[in-house]
């Protein structure tokens, strides 16, 4: 096994062009589980943690965006300026694993793995983040909706990797909630990110389908039937919850049942909508 330790994005691209089957290593919190538990044996590893550019984030005030390097660990998103700018991302980051995992785990890794239960992903979906993908032909911007294409599948092409994620900033409210069978350190059995602006509510559902699901029907119904300036009535909440549940496509597995997951995303969406007015 070879391990390359590049220090720049260009070097990473070079390495991946030379060896498209090389395995990227960021925080290792998914990859090392693959190696230790599932017997994966990568032949060539490209370690990203010395690429300083990937470990920084910046605000573009003219375009009103925040760009977070793919190697920034969750711990940095949980508190401070990033948390103030992107509260839903901070809340999602706080739910990831334990302090040790949050010190190492990254958005790049969450996107690389692309599990429907990945906690960063519903935030990207609801905020309509765009992913900066770098490869042999330079960089391209990919909407999250086009990035995740199935269970643990993304649309990265050979020799491409994620440089950063750009989130639009807005003045609205945003929040994230996740259900698991334990009060911390648990894989989501259902999760919701909700973003409310002046004229729209965006709802993204995690762990209830092969990809992150935007509850388009519920969003459209709210936009047409709910005055965003005032809190929702009980009837509005009921219908909103019903439409969110309808959007989900959950399965039964050893972690939970489809019926519970469907129920839970409805409850979480209703609660987040209510919370957005408190």
């Amino acid at each position: 096994m070879s391990v390359a330790l590049p220090t720049s994005v260009d070097e990473v691209v070079d390495l991946l062009v030379r060896n498209p089957s090389a395995t990227l290593l960021a925080g290792g919190t998914d990859l090392m589980v693959e190696v230790n538990l599932h017997g994966r044996r990568p032949t060539d590893v490209v370690a990203l943690n010395r690429v300083a550019e990937l470990r920084t984030w910046s605000v573009d005030s003219s375009r009103r965006t925040v760009t977070i390097g793919s190697g920034v660990p969750y711990a940095e998103m949980e508190t401070g300026e990033l948390a103030r700018l992107l509260p839903a991302l901070a809340e999602a980051a706080r739910t990831v694993g334990s302090p040790q995992i949050r010190a190492a785990g990254t958005l790049g890794g969450n996107l690389g793995t692309c599990s429907p239960a990945g906690d960063g992903l519903p935030v990207l979906a609801a905020l309509e983040a765009s992913i900066d993908v770098v490869g042999p032909n330079g960089s391209r911007q990919v909407h999250f909706a086009d990035f995740m294409v199935g269970v643990k599948r993304n649309s990265l092409r050979p020799s491409e990797f994620v440089r950063s994620v750009t989130f639009p900033l807005n003045d609205g409210w945003q929040g994230y909630a996740k259900v698991g069978t334990r009060n911390a350190m648990v894989i989501a059995t259902a999760s919701v990110c909700l973003v409310r602006t002046n004229d729209h509510v965006a709802v993204a559902l995690g762990a209830v389908g092969p990809t992150i699901i935007r509850a388009n029907g519920a969003e459209a119904w709210l936009a047409a039937n709910h005055r965003m300036s005032s809190p929702p009535s009980n009837d509005t909440l009921a219908e909103f919850g019903r439409l969110v549940r309808e959007a989900s496509r959950p399965i039964d597995d050893h972690r939970s049942t489809a019926a519970y997951r469907r129920h839970a995303v409805g409850v979480l969406a209703q609660r987040l909508l209510t919370r957005s007015y408190s």
């Binding site: 909630a177 259900v179 069978t181 911390a184 050893h254």
Partner: protein, 758 residues
């Protein structure tokens, strides 16, 4: 947490928070657990396991594996020199499943390899080709009881059936409550995974095994039989044990490791990973229990009827004993004159089940404490009142006819628990970490309902049904140094510290050396059944007393004193009638004394066909009150506080008692709301800590504990075992609290979110 201690005794003696001899090393990471062991020229071993729960092995082809560079040996059933079977009660479990024979659970060992590197082992295992004829697994215990299932094993599909009939089975009560209860399969989930290092004797006719286990001598007996060696050719040394909870009572990798070492003539080490650990050891029996209580209008229990079915999985392990523990504890810590109980422990193609902390009583207690709340509701009585009304006392008779002659402070436990202040209400600005759902921020204060629930239990101590589970200890004075030797498995409970406390107290010395824990001394029995403080504590105490008496006799002789008048007072030997006073350290400087003692508990009896007989040695009691916050709409739970008063006889080390109580409560909480091995069609679906969920710090409640100290005259030190009671009635206490908050029946643990809200 409050702890009541009498006048402060000398540092390091009984009753004090003596520090553990292994404490600093464990905290600093320097302690060698069995998974850290290493030897020069060592090989690695690994085990091939059946992926099928029920199949016949048509053929095993190891030829490709042999060709892999670095593979030193491959062993199968044909290479087992002795008996190809082991087991704690009956030897029905093969070391390796044989060609032409059956595999009976998913994970059953078929072959083992030794190689120069774990990677080589992995490749060798992948290269072994096994052809199976696969059958539908038998997974429904009722099919086995009804005799409708195919025979899984020549010994049959029922491990044991036992009835208990006492008093007048035809009486009925004014009030009748009943329920069907189910308990899921819990794992002991110790953190220190199975690991062993076997070193063959140079002549190849013996072996030394470093092993994390609960009972060295029982292991040795079974290993020697499988290896076809006399027991003295198999020497066991305790490796550092990272928790046990019952999962190390059975043989797992012991025979495999020795066999590989004897075959290769080189040291061999096997260490399981977490996934293999789920297949490598037995689990807590899943059970279905029907129970019906008859009571007078005001709530006095008149009769209990029950049927209990324990699914023992593929092999016997301790299933028959677990069953007896379950059914003999049907009544809980309550008076009951009439009972009809029917119990079955059966064989299926599910993972084998055996000992786990609480040993059958956990299952029974969940049922009877659920029933007590039903009874309270039916009689219109408070849950505390109904328990006080029926509370057992010393001298009461169990449904087996056995008289409870232990100290039985059930009422005191309940009252002391009730006196512990309730926690404050959840504040309106509560931190998300204090609300059900925790870091997931699923709920706001307004979604939460609080509930309170009770659980009270009785637990037998030591082994039952005629078993003489004695313990041995040796105390020596040589060159002024006191040393103690025993084979008691230190699994984390702190016996090493207790042994020193006993020796310091009895002998009046401060320094006490502990010899290696191995089979070079008599058996200590198992570190289980809440028995080592009583049994090995009794043995160490007896050995130290014998040595002390020799020392006093020596002093008497050389100083012309009467030994009868000499006592150890602090660190001095004192003549209570005269003026003689001399430091023990000075007296023993030139003495050589060596005494070995055995401690046996009073004999017990088998049960007769009606389940009557004095089958248990002694009992301990505990009460738990759980306060929970529940999010009824999402079914999420946060256990806020568990208050408990436990009957301990006497507190020998306050900190140790607290440790057992807090740990046991966390384990019982796990069974109440999250810990379950999910098995579908004989296959474990969550063999990892990703999906087998243990409570984290955010799940663990505040624990408020009180110890009820009433000296137990039957116990050599006046103390009862404290290990198991903390994890028994806390589970139903939490379930009752969730019922109290939600109004749901919740007949099953673990209570899953969807059980609460859908």
């Amino acid at each position: 947490m409050s702890v009541s201690v009498a006048a402060p005794p000398r540092a390091g003696t009984l009753g004090t928070n003596a520090s553990r001899p292994d404490g600093i090393a464990k905290v600093q990471g320097g302690f060698a657990f069995s998974s850290d062991m290493w030897a020069e020229n060592m090989l690695w071993g690994a085990t091939l396991r059946s992926p099928h729960p029920f199949a016949r092995i048509v053929s095993i082809d190891v030829s490709a594996a042999w060709k892999i560079n670095g593979v030193e040996t491959i062993v199968t059933a044909d290479d087992v020199p002795g008996v190809n079977a082991y087991g704690l009660i009956v030897q029905d479990q093969p070391v390796f499943a044989r060609v032409g024979d059956l595999v009976r659970y998913s994970g059953e060992p078929i072959a083992a390899v030794a190689a120069d590197h774990p990677e080589t082992c992995k490749r060798a295992l992948e290269a072994i080709k096994v052809e199976y004829e696969v059958f539908d697994p038998v997974v429904d215990p009722e099919e086995c009881i009804a005799g409708r299932a195919p025979e899984i094993h020549p010994h049959g599909n029922v491990f044991r059936h036992q009835r208990i009939v006492t008093g007048d089975p035809s009486v009925t009560g004014d009030v009748v409550v009943e329920g069907d209860y189910e308990i899921g399969m819990q794992d002991q989930a110790f953190l220190g995974l199975e690991a062993a290092l076997a070193i063959p004797d140079s002549g190849g006719d013996g072996v030394e095994l470093y092993i994390a286990t609960q009972w060295l001598h029982e292991d040795r007996k079974q290993i020697a039989a499988c290896l076809g060696l006399p027991e003295d050719k198999v020497r066991l040394v305790l490796g550092g044990v990272g928790g046990a909870f019952g999962a190390r009572e059975d043989i797992s990798l012991q025979v495999h490791t020795c066999l590989l070492a004897l075959r290769t003539g080189r040291p061999v080490r096997i260490a399981y990973g977490r996934e293999e650990s789920f297949y490598g050891h037995v689990h807590r029996h899943p059970a279905r229990i029907w129970m019906r209580h008859h009571a007078t209008r005001d709530g006095r229990i008149v009769k209990i009827e029950s049927r209990m079915v324990f699914d023992g999985g593929a092999y016997c392990s301790t299933s028959p004993a677990v069953l007896i523990n379950g059914i003999t504890h049907t009544q809980g810590p309550y008076k009951c004159d009439n009972a009809v109980v029917d119990g079955f422990a059966v064989r299926t193609n599910n993972p084998p089940c055996g000992a786990m902390r609480g040993f059958g009583v956990v299952q029974a207690c969940y049922a009877h404490e659920s029933q007590m709340d039903k009874l309270a509701a039916a009689c219109g009585v408070d849950p505390v009142e109904i328990r006080l009304l029926n509370a057992m006392e010393t001298g009461d008779k169990l449904i087996t006819g056995q008289v409870v002659d232990s100290v039985a402070p059930v009422e005191e436990c309940i009252r002391a628990t009730a006196a512990i202040p309730l926690p404050p209400d959840l504040p309106s600005d509560a931190d998300f970490r204090d609300i059900p759902g925790g870091s997931g921020r699923t709920a706001d204060r307004s979604h939460i309902r609080r509930g309170i629930g009770w659980g009270v239990s009785i637990k037998n101590l030591m082994y039952s049904e005629g078993f003489d589970d004695y313990s041995t200890a040796r105390c020596r004075i040589s060159n002024g140094v006191v040393s103690i030797k025993f084979a008691t498995a230190e699994v984390g409970q702190g016996f090493v510290m207790l042994a020193q406390q006993i020796a310091r107290t009895v002998l009046g010395v401060d320094e006490v050396l502990l010899d290696t824990i191995d089979t070079q001394v008599g058996s200590a029995g198992s570190t289980s059944a809440s028995r080592q403080t009583w049994m090995s504590g009794g043995a160490v105490n007896a050995a130290c007393v014998a040595v002390r008496d020799k020392v006093l006799a020596h002093v008497a002789q050389y100083n012309d004193l009467d030994a009868e008048n000499l006592v150890v007072d602090g660190t001095e030997i004192v003549d209570i009638r005269g003026t003689f006073r001399k430091p023990v350290a000075e007296v023993i400087r030139h003495l050589e004394v060596d005494e070995t003692a055995e401690y046996h508990h009073p004999p017990t009896e088998d049960l007769d066909e009606n389940g009557q007989g004095n089958c248990h040695v002694a009992f301990a009691f505990v009460a738990h009150r759980a306060v929970v916050d529940v999010d009824p709409e999402l079914g999420l739970v946060k256990v806020v506080q568990v208050a408990t008063a436990q009957d301990v006889g006497r507190v020998l080390n306050p900190l140790s008692c607290v440790g057992q109580v807090e740990g046991g409560i966390a384990q019982g909480l796990g069974l109440a709301v999250m810990e379950e091995i999910v098995v579908t069609n004989g296959k474990v679906r969550n063999p990892s800590f990703t999906d087998y969920l243990l409570p984290t710090f955010l799940d663990a409640p505040d624990v408020e504990a009180v110890f009820i100290e009433e000296f137990e005259p039957k116990s050599p030190l006046g103390a009862k075992g404290v290990g198991e009671p903390p994890c028994i009635s806390v589970t139903p206490a939490i379930a009752n609290a969730i019922r109290n908050a939600t109004g749901r029946e919740l007949p099953r643990v673990p209570i899953r979110p969807y059980d609460v809200c859908l």
